[in-house]
């Protein structure tokens, strides 16, 4: 095995070893583990030349760094994890809507055991914890799997970031129980859930064959750039979700959430108009935008129904009843799906659009040289 400058020769039989056929560029080849897991080995040559790029710039340049064959297994696993996360979000919304947040007064155990009697509110709270454990386990597997087979360092790091988020989310969940649901902590728990969800969703997109294939890339000469509009739309939806969580957990009143809905609606419309004007015939963008419009429109309707149920129809209910529970849970889950759709639009913009040459030169001569 050739010895390269800076390489520790004592590691030839280790997890990370060199490929003797390569030209000396150090690559990752987790031979032992892949044999055990029967995973396909992906080689890639990581070029160290050129200026350092930020995360978003790397997204747009992805097509030059694609591995030879995308790993379908990890991609499907990422999709499965994202779907389980939607289930977890639903379970969490059921806890709040059933007023079962403190049905299990201790943490991390439940009534001093791993499996308490699943009666009343305990069913929702402990059920939520069980699904959270599953999602946490799936995230560990996903992060480790990515570290084994994924040649793109930023994707591997995103996998570890997802793991960090789910651990933080678990700790926040414990804090909400131990501190008796303080509104700020409960709202943070609800918000972090959404951020974790779009992180896992992004991993599913980045590991997809579509993302890693040779796609048609077009120039976006409009102003503001569609990438900017898409990011701003996603950010406005995140803020709207935070305001919704704050209202649901009694941190704020309803007015900020109503105002946020208006702002998010304007952003969605502006982005949709820009796509229609500039890329009417570009199917990937149009499809992503149709998905966003569908989810956002549903969410606005659900928002109206939820307002009526919360402030009028359920006012004198002695307990959370099926109408209240179903409408409020649906509003939370569709909100998460709306954020997901917006994230898909944003990632699509970064994947298949690039700023026009003229705009790149005016912004950064260094970037334009790449």
């Amino acid at each position: 095995m050739a010895r390269l400058p800076g390489f520790n020769a004592g590691k030839t039989g280790s997890f990370w070893s060199l490929c003797a056929e390569c030209d000396g560029t150090r690559i990752r080849r987790p031979a032992a583990m892949t044999q055990l897991l029967r995973l396909p080995v992906i080689h890639s040559r990581l070029s160290r030349s050129g200026p350092k790029l930020g995360f978003w710039a790397k997204l747009g340049r992805n097509q030059r760094r694609m591995p030879a064959a995308p790993n379908q297994g990890v991609h499907r696993f990422a999709i499965f994890t994202a779907c389980c996360t939607v289930l977890l979000l639903t379970a969490g919304a059921l806890v709040t809507s059933n007023d079962a947040g403190l049905a299990v007064p201790d943490w991390p155990l439940s009534y001093g055991s791993l499996m308490p009697p699943m009666i009343g509110g305990i069913f929702y709270e402990h059920g939520h914890r069980m699904i959270a454990t599953l999602v946490g386990t799936l995230t560990i597997v996903l992060a480790v799997w990515l570290s084994l087979v994924e040649p793109r360092r930023w994707v591997r790091r995103l996998g570890w970031a997802a793991l960090g988020l789910v651990i933080a989310q678990g700790l926040l969940g414990g804090l909400t129980v131990l501190l008796y649901l303080p509104p700020a902590v409960s709202s943070a728990h609800a918000t972090l859930a959404q951020l974790y969800f779009i992180t896992v969703l992004s991993l599913a997109v980045f590991t997809s064959p579509w993302w890693q294939s040779d796609l048609e890339v077009r120039e976006d000469a409009g102003s503001p750039a569609l990438r900017t509009l898409a990011v701003a739309t996603t950010a406005s939806i995140v803020v709207q979700l935070i305001l919704g969580a704050a209202f649901r957990h009694n941190l704020f009143g309803i007015v900020p959430h109503l105002v946020g809905a208006g702002v998010a609606a304007v952003m969605v419309i502006l982005t949709g108009v820009a796509i229609k004007k500039r890329f009417r015939d570009f199917r990937p963008l149009r499809r992503a935008m149709v998905l966003l419009h569908a989810t956002f429109g549903t969410q606005i309707l659900l928002g109206g129904v939820t307002y009526w149920v919360v402030f009028y129809a359920s006012r004198n209910d002695p307990q959370p009843l099926p109408l209240f529970i179903s409408v409020t849970v649906a509003h939370v889950v569709v909100g998460a799906l709306t954020l997901a759709a917006s994230m898909l639009v944003t990632l699509t913009c970064y994947r298949i659009l690039r700023p026009s040459r003229a705009m790149e030169v005016s912004r950064s001569p260094e970037r334009a040289a790449i």
């Binding site: 007064p105 943490w107 009666i119 804090l175």
Partner: protein
């Protein structure tokens, strides 16, 4: 790079473990037997002359029609469904004959500041029977012991949610010994609920003087042993909020007060 990664991983694991241990150990939970330290009785040093005390009696009524509530659904817990064969209605607004209001806390709001009162040694009971709190509203003095019992064959958790006192949340399985706790400061009234059974709601009124009563279905109250003076008598009802009235009683005088809530007023907290 490898050494940096492994150090970072170890550090992250160490920090994460420390966080988990800290969080698990630093919860606000209290054991059922522990109680908040009771502050020294406030008020002046004047004593009440038993030969001069009077009383204030009266009734509390609702003017107008009570709101309509849906029946409680206990299907989420089979034991609770079986324990209640008849329809169970919420106890937010219970109206008797001629508008008499049940579960209203009537108390002397002021002015008794020149007197100090000893904390009673006997406890006030709050029972969990048929998956409902019995009574729906209890009243006790600051520092007095509240004894919570579980007469049901299912687990409840008792979760008072005070604003001015210490919050706690304790589970009570069937057959468990009573939970004793107290509240240090006046608060009218502390909502209490069971998170396992979301329809279970009650209230605990904590007062700093012994002149209080909770009305029953006839809406009547009787505040005995009041020294002569001018007082504000306040009535608290969970749905309608508070109403008050001033009354002056002389030595050994008995006065009658009638308090009423307006059914068309917006609910308290709106």
């Amino acid at each position: 790079m490898k050494i940096w990664r492994s150090r970072t991983l170890v550090s992250s694991l160490a920090i994460g473990s420390a966080l988990v241990i800290t969080i698990a150990g630093c919860g606000k939970k209290e054991t059922p037997e522990s109680t908040e330290s009771v502050p020294a009785p406030a008020g002046g040093s004047a004593t009440i002359d038993p030969s001069t005390v009077g009383e204030v009696t009266g009734t509390v009524a609702l003017v107008g029609s009570a709101p309509t509530f849906k029946a409680i659904n206990m299907s989420a817990e089979p034991y609770c469904s079986k324990a209640n064969t008849k329809t169970v209605m919420p106890q937010d607004v219970v109206v008797g004959d001629k508008g008499a209001l049940d579960n209203v806390v009537v108390y002397v709001k002021d002015d008794l500041s020149k007197y100090s009162f000893d904390t009673p040694k006997d406890s006030v009971a709050l029972n969990q029977q048929g998956c409902m709190y019995e009574p729906h509203v209890v009243a006790l003095m600051a520092g007095q012991t509240l004894e919570v019992k579980n007469d049901d064959q299912t687990t409840h958790n008792i979760h008072p949610m005070p604003k001015d006192n210490r919050e706690w949340n304790t589970s009570q399985p069937p057959g468990a010994s009573p939970i004793d706790n107290s509240f240090a400061r006046q608060e009218v009234a502390i909502p209490v609920k069971c998170n396992v059974h979301p329809w279970m709601k009650g209230y605990i009124a904590v007062l700093k003087n012994p002149f209080f009563a909770v009305t029953t279905k006839d809406g009547k109250f009787d505040l005995k042993g009041l020294p002569p003076g001018t007082y504000t008598i306040e009535a608290w009802q969970e749905h309608y909020g508070v109403v008050d009235q001033q009354v002056t009683i002389g030595p050994k005088e008995s006065k009658s007060v009638h308090l009423s809530f307006n059914a068309s007023a917006p609910p308290a907290g709106d």
